[in-house]
Subunit: 459 residues, 2 copies
């Protein structure tokens, strides 16, 4: 049933409005404008037509099957709509409407869930901003229209943050496969959505903003998420990890937050990667979405600046990334790629005189060496090497040679450096503004690779 969310034949929007700015207007407009190819049915008893589409007075009056029903009517009208959609045989109701358990209205929330169960109708929400699934060109949210297409599925328990992050991912060109606002999780929860994505070929990694799981659902959460992480990496930022944050969570989504140690243990058991800031969550998710899993843990740092090389070395040690001790042969090979005063050990320092040619030669050595599994490429803006030239050369080399060693990049500098990193990111090479962030993302990939191998060997 839930699968209908990803590939619905039709979507009805109950509360579709002709007034710009209204939620029932924005959601319908986004569904149309983002290019959904299935059938779209506005439901509005006071209109014959909304946004150029024939409108219907109710879901049951639609002369066709309805898979997904988006609900954006006042709370007190929702039970009627759910009953109607249930009778019609709809599969999932996406209840955007707020005014349920989050403001103490638990009874109304229970009522819609019970009604839906009668008909086998599933509920996403209530109190959400909608959902999106870009492979089917569905943007059924009241957030920004132009969601960047990609391989990260984002699930948010916070509506405001989720919408804000939509803008953020667009600005930073972070591509999403799916976006789910889960709100009060009256029925469908985070674990079930993650499970849904196991078989989704367009999702490579799942990123979750979590405030808390529902009381009594801990075991189910661990079971489901363990299944998920065997197939796909999951990165979670858990809000409410401090004592006071927990109280804030309780007053925000009403989740029973539970002690952070419990969550920490559950995440560990389930193989979930924990991020501590929103930026970190996307740093890690981006690496997974763009790069193959590490084949092993032996990592080399290639740089043109000693300083960033040292910072990356520090980050590697503290995040558990193993820097390879190159063999004499490998040291010799690296030495051929650099000026005489460079350093062929790890970090491989091509010096501030490094050219595109030095970089590509050193990268080639790393790619061809069986001693090396992963590559960290660092660059500091110098007068002799335009970062945009370097970015282009790296992309060309990786694409021509179909390089499959896990690679992360950090370029430090000004506007042109920023543009170079955008170029790398657009070509699936994750680039970060600081060496520490690049190394941290790689560390989490290596950790996940090991976790997965260990789990699979036990099966």
């Amino acid at each position: 049933m839930l699968k209908a969310l990803l590939n619905p034949k039709s979507i009805a929007v109950v509360g579709a409005s002709r007034t710009p700015g209204k939620i029932g207007y924005v959601v319908l407009r986004n569904i149309i404008a983002y290019g959904y190819k299935g059938k779209i049915y506005p439901v509005n008893p006071h209109a014959d037509e909304v946004l150029g589409l024939k409108a219907y007075p109710s879901v049951s009056s639609i002369p066709d099957e309805v898979d997904v029903v988006v609900v954006a009517v006042p709370a007190q009208e929702v039970p009627k709509v759910i009953e109607d959609a249930g009778k019609k045989g709809a599969k999932v109701a996406v209840v955007i409407t707020s005014g349920f358990s989050e403001v103490g209205n638990v009874e109304l929330e229970n009522q819609i869930v019970e009604t839906a169960r009668k008909y086998g109708l599933r509920i996403l929400g209530p109190n959400i901003f909608g959902y999106a699934y870009t492979p089917s060109s569905i943007n059924a949210t009241f957030g920004p229209l132009e969601i960047e297409r990609g391989n990260i599925a984002l699930i948010s328990q916070s509506g405001a943050l989720g919408i804000a992050l939509m803008g953020w991912t667009i600005m930073n060109e972070i591509g999403l496969s799916a976006l789910f606002s889960v709100g009060n999780m009256a029925d469908i929860d985070v674990a079930e959505l993650s499970e849904l994505l196991i078989d989704d070929p367009y999702t490579k990694v799942i990123a979750i903003y979590l405030e808390g799981i529902k009381p009594g659902r801990g075991k189910d959460f661990i079971e489901k998420m363990t299944k998920v992480t065997l197939e796909k990496p999951v990165v979670v930022i858990k809000a409410g990890r401090s004592t006071r944050g927990m109280k804030a969570v309780a007053s925000h989504t009403g989740s029973l937050a539970g002690s952070d140690q419990l969550y920490e243990a559950a995440f560990k058991q389930a193989g979930i990667i924990r991020a501590y800031t929103v930026e970190e969550m996307f740093d890690i998710a981006r690496a997974f979405s763009q790069q193959p899993l590490p084949r092993g843990e032996n990592t080399v740092i290639i740089t043109n600046g000693g300083g960033v090389g040292v910072l990356a070395t520090d980050a590697a040690e503290f995040s558990g990334v193993k820097l390879v001790e190159p063999s004499p042969q490998l040291i010799d090979a690296f030495r051929q790629t650099m000026p005489w005063f460079g350093s062929p050990k790890n970090p491989v320092d091509l010096t501030g005189q490094a050219t595109v040619d030095n970089y590509i030669k050193a990268i080639k050595v790393a790619v061809e060496s069986p001693e090396i599994d992963n590559i960290v490429i660092l660059y500091c803006r110098t007068a002799v090497l335009d970062p945009r030239d370097l970015a282009k050369a790296i992309v060309e080399f990786y694409e021509e040679n179909k390089v499959d060693k896990t690679t992360v990049v950090s370029f430090v500098g000004g506007q042109d450096t920023y543009e170079a990193m955008k170029y790398l990111n657009r070509h699936n090479i994750p680039a970060y503004p600081s060496p520490e962030r690049a190394v941290n993302a790689l560390a989490k990939m290596i950790w996940y690779k090991k976790f997965k191998e260990k789990k699979k060997s036990k099966q």
Copy 2:
């Protein structure tokens, strides 16, 4: 003598070149183009004129006093230049040239220091990219030209990273008062430069990229830095804190890195704030440069999104920021500023319906309440409130009311949110892309305020 670096009457550039791209060309061009008002003397025995200025064959042939001599000639010629500059009575030689102790040429380095000492000439470098002091419109570096003017002094022991950070600060509109590349620190070191800045009215905070202090200089470092931090905050990123990073440092600048515990202890004793990434260093420095020191530790969070409120609450607890428990009166006052379903406790949640008016009213309550010392303003992009309007209103309120409570901001969203944060930053309200980074910067300010009070009370 060192003060001459900040307000020299004249600067000579030895090795001034007419060939674009050469270091001796770029440095001279930067000095001229950045608007230095003192006298500029190119020194080049093979030219009568360089970049439109009369050139001299040697420093001693300049018919005028020379305060600062920038040296950009090959290493083997440097001793002669130092001798000549010393005889001439120059005060500081800024030796850009590399090829000294960093490549094992210790003797040559000792030689120039000994020569300089004979004449009371001080040496910055060698092996540096130059220096800048924006209040005197001096950009004597071979890095980018348009250094943003401001109140942060940046000292970098890494040349490549320092130059790259020049571009980075320009792109991020981070204003600098001074910028020193210290390189091999043959004579002038980080501690002495920091001391020089104690009385500089244009420097509010000192940010340092440090790889290591010289053997035997530990005690001097602690003594000098303790004096500095009594007057001005110092933020240090210490590279080479891992075992392997230490080795990388040794091969990079040749500093005897020493165990990280020693540095940790030294920093603590001297009241130095430690940052762990380049981004964090600037996050903290920016807050100090733009905001008054906290008057106390009681902090309130004002938000329109529960999620970011929780993330900030978590960050506050883990970084030691005390969130105030508002009195019943204060709770009542906050309640007046928000929709009925908002939360007037701390975090003060104005809800996703919040308008500019709600925000300004809540901020006014916080500013006027004696219970509150510091304010964290958070915002998630919503359809009802354009972040640029909010940014403008905040700036207007702060400027009109001369608000002097320490304030940090985080707006989460897309392009317009990013623009709004740029606007805030330009008006001295430090804004960050994530709530955790805003809270962390405030935490370090509160820590420093307490440190300073404790130290002063002991004097």
